[in-house]
């Protein structure tokens, strides 16, 4: 009986504390408005606005041949990859425009280009690429080489009178099937990854800031002498903030991702929300550990930056995880976001269930438990 009643009051206190946190957040109107903005409009803008694939690379052409072949070649540089911004007659003009950042690629076609192609000689076109952004520069060069190779082979075979006989040559064609996002709609990827960024950012900051605020004002001592355990104090904060973040996630999912970008939910939505809750808990663990180390909010901010920055940039949403150095991959096994990325894309786009995802889920559980435990341990030790 007493155990039952004890559990009931324990639960009641937890609920009361959680409610208090929610009220406190509710009164902070700028923060609340900002939360809503972050999960709606901001997801919309970055989902629709960003493409990391080569798009509209500004192309300048210096055509010294002005022949049918050179025009045909230029014609193959098409949007969305390239945007022809003009023709120039002086190579120095090209360099100047590259300097000013008004062009990214300058294509130089030599005189006698057409003639050489027709008579079966080898000829070379030159390409100047601005590589201040290395991956984009490489990508532009790769596309150009691809365009030139297919153009060259086609023209040469045509001039050798072989164009109609393609089937009777040992050509290997490469057929691609893209899975999980067949049209390679980058808006799916960008909107989902923006949502992941927001969830992670708020999951670290909200509970940590709430806990440190109590420490700073000294209200935490009042709480500690009241009949609530340290666990309840910490857990209620995480509970309140997780609820808020889950609501905001639902807003982003059913307000933006689904209706605007038509992002599918191939797996179970319930599973997705459950695992999102797990991610928020685990990530909040980081924030709580930071909060026990810090004395005031400015310190928490710095420490949170220290954790969140690398987490957002190195977990694999902005750059491919497989190609990162080994030591980074090793450190990032500590990042819950790293597992959450696999989980989210797995559930939403690949339709995976727990049978396939048990590994990342297990890793996250382990990580979350450890973080929470050590946060609790530190918190308790500080006040006893």
């Amino acid at each position: 009986m007493t155990v039952g009643r004890g559990a009931a009051t324990w639960g009641q206190r937890l609920v009361a504390l959680t409610w208090k946190e929610l009220l406190q957040l509710w009164r902070d109107v700028p923060l609340l408005l900002f939360l809503i903005y972050s999960f709606s409009l901001s997801v919309l803008v970055s989902g629709a606005g960003i493409t990391m694939q080569l798009t509209n690379a500004e192309l300048l052409v210096h055509d010294e041949d002005q022949s049918p072949s050179s025009r045909e070649l230029i014609h193959r540089f098409q949007p969305p990859y390239f945007a022809l911004v003009g023709a120039i007659s002086d190579p120095r003009e090209g360099l100047r425009q590259l300097d000013e950042g008004r062009a990214m690629v300058v294509l130089d076609i030599p005189p006698r280009f057409h003639e050489a192609l027709m008579s079966g000689e080898r000829t070379t076109i030159q390409l100047l690429v601005d590589t201040t952004n290395a991956p984009q520069g490489l990508s532009a060069a790769a596309y150009t080489v691809r365009i030139a190779a297919s153009f060259g082979t086609e023209t040469a075979l045509a001039s050798a009178g072989l164009s109609g006989a393609k089937a009777s040559m040992p050509l290997v064609s490469s057929a691609h099937r893209v899975w999980f996002n067949p049209t390679q709609d980058e808006r799916w990827f960008q909107s989902i990854s923006h949502l992941l960024r927001m969830i992670t950012l708020f999951a670290v900051l909200l509970p940590a800031a709430a806990l440190v605020r109590e420490k700073e004002r000294g209200t935490v001592e009042q709480l500690l002498v009241s009949p609530v355990s340290p666990f309840q104090i910490m857990f209620s904060k995480v509970l309140a903030m997780s609820g808020v973040i889950l609501l905001a996630t639902a807003l982003a999912l059913y307000g933006v991702l689904h209706p605007v970008f038509h992002v599918p939910m191939k797996g179970s939505a319930a599973l997705f929300f459950l695992l999102t809750a797990l991610h928020v808990f685990t990530t909040a663990g980081f924030g709580l550990v930071a909060a026990t180390l810090a004395k005031n909010q400015a310190q928490v901010a710095m420490m949170a930056l220290f954790v969140v920055g690398p987490m957002l940039l190195l977990s694999g949403i902005t750059s491919p995880f497989e190609s990162m150095p080994q030591w980074v991959q090793a450190i990032m096994t500590l990042s819950p976001l790293r597992y959450y990325i696999d989980i989210t894309y797995g559930v939403m786009l690949k339709g995976a269930g727990l049978d396939l995802l048990w590994k990342p889920v297990g890793a996250m559980l382990l990580l979350g438990g450890t973080l929470f435990g050590s946060g609790m341990w530190r918190f308790r030790r500080q006040f006893q």
């Binding site: 902070d28 700028p30 923060l31 900002f34 970055s46 629709a48 606005g49 960003i50 990391m52 694939q53 080569l54 690379a57 192609l117 000829t123 070379t124 076109i125 030159q126 690429v129 201040t132 290395a134 990508s139 060069a141 150009t144 080489v145 691809r146 023209t155 040469a156 040559m169 040992p170 050509l171 290997v172 064609s173 057929a175 099937r177 999980f180 390679q184 980058e186 927001m198 950012l201 708020f202 900051l205 800031a209 605020r213 004395k295 909010q297 901010a301 710095m302 930056l305 220290f306 969140v308 920055g309 957002l312 190195l314 190609s323 150095p325 980074v328 696999d342 797995g346 995976a352 396939l356």
Partner: protein, 376 residues
């Protein structure tokens, strides 16, 4: 005023340590860790032909540094499962009779399955597949022409590939990811740390109520604001020098431009970013709100819209407008221009002007907003 704020900031040892250490540490972590080159794409193979040609074809993928071989599969179902579990990102299926068809001079098709969840990586991976496939095809064609037409290796080579491209990479001649990332990361770290420090400093006064002492004192608005900003600007400028030294010394990024110009731009930029921090701190009441809003305002547009990862030219119109509203984009131009391109004020004056306008606007706005406070 500045002295007081300085004392208050320096008293908090941990905070001060983090304020100087954080930017430097970030530069190290990101500079080494943020590798944007797509390499080591994990892939598996289903070889239905098991012939000399199919092995040679696959060997080209296995040896490529862009791909990382994860084993042979025996049926398509295994490949499905590996893709869904994200064990592999690509799968190559060589059909039966691959060698037979090629020797008979017929066309053959190799099937490639790609994971499309990360469209950029998919696109790059597709490019690699096409390039390797192209090289294999060219070799087969050269072989074919030698046998069927009695051409020499060289003649057949010209026939198959008459046009070559000579690519010259400008500014970043070895096309190193770090060279393009590190200068931009200097901008990124400044953009995050400075407004945060400022915002927290002001809101701290508001929350503890000590700001009322200022309201009732004889300190003028301008004195208060500059006094608040000065220490943070100083900290940030020290950081600018440290980051510059690290970029040049540690990462060996060439600095081809003019240091004075770069430093002047950095001063303007730091004024902008601390101004943002101040503005936010005037609008909100709690440190929690200041912290979160500053982080989101500073971090997200800077990652996405500054040209750090994505060139501004390839953004859609809405995102482009947002890019032009933040100072980060202009400073990225200046940083990359000064480090890699070695251009001077004649090219960068527009960006400098934009930064100056932004800084002035921030100053005016905060000055204007601050007047209203004591009345309410």
């Amino acid at each position: 005023m500045a002295l007081k704020e300085w004392k208050e900031t320096t008293r908090d040892r941990l905070f001060l340590l983090l304020a100087f250490l954080l930017p430097a540490l970030w530069l190290v972590v990101f500079g080494y860790g943020l590798n944007l080159d797509v390499e080591d794409i994990p892939f598996a193979v289903l070889d239905r032909d098991q012939s000399e040609f199919s092995r040679e074809y696959l060997q080209r993928f296995i040896q490529s540094r862009y791909f990382s071989f994860r084993g042979y599969a025996h049926d398509e179902r295994t490949l499905d499962r590996l893709l869904t579990e994200t064990k592999i990102r690509a799968a190559i299926i060589v059909p039966e009779r691959f060698q037979e068809q090629l020797i008979a001079g017929e066309a053959a098709t190799v099937q490639t399955l790609l994971d499309g969840t990360f469209p950029l990586h998919t696109d790059i991976a597709k490019g690699y597949v096409i390039a390797i496939n192209q090289a294999f095809t060219e070799d087969r064609l050269i072989d074919f022409f030698r046998r069927s037409r009695g051409l020499t290796q060289e003649q057949a080579g010209v026939l198959v590939r008459p046009l070559s491209v000579e690519v010259r990479y400008l500014y970043n001649e070895e096309v190193r990811s770090t060279w393009s990332m590190v200068p931009a990361l200097v901008m990124f770290t400044l953009m995050l740390a400075s407004p945060l420090l400022t915002a927290l400093g002001v809101v701290r006064e508001k929350e503890t109520g000590s700001i009322y002492n200022i309201y009732s004192s004889t300190v003028s608005r301008a004195e208060f604001l500059t006094g608040k900003l000065l220490p943070y600007i100083l900290i940030s400028l020290v950081n600018v020098c440290v980051l510059w030294l690290m970029a040049v010394g540690l990462f060996q990024v060439p600095f081809k431009g003019y240091f004075l110009l770069f430093f002047f731009a950095a001063v303007l930029f730091v004024c902008c970013t601390t101004g943002i921090g101040l503005l936010i701190s005037l609008l909100v009441q709690t440190q929690m709100a200041a912290l979160i809003i500053t982080m989101v305002v500073a971090m997200i547009p800077t990652i996405l819209f500054s040209g750090l990862l994505v060139p501004v030219a390839s953004l859609t119109r809405g995102a482009k407008v947002q890019a032009h509203l933040f100072p980060a984009m202009y400073f990225t131009n200046i940083v990359r221009g000064s480090f890699l391109k070695g251009v001077g004020a004649d090219v960068l004056w527009i960006d400098l002007l934009a930064l100056a306008i932004f800084a002035a606007a921030m100053g005016g706005l905060t000055y204007h907003l601050f007047t209203k406070r004591p009345k309410t």
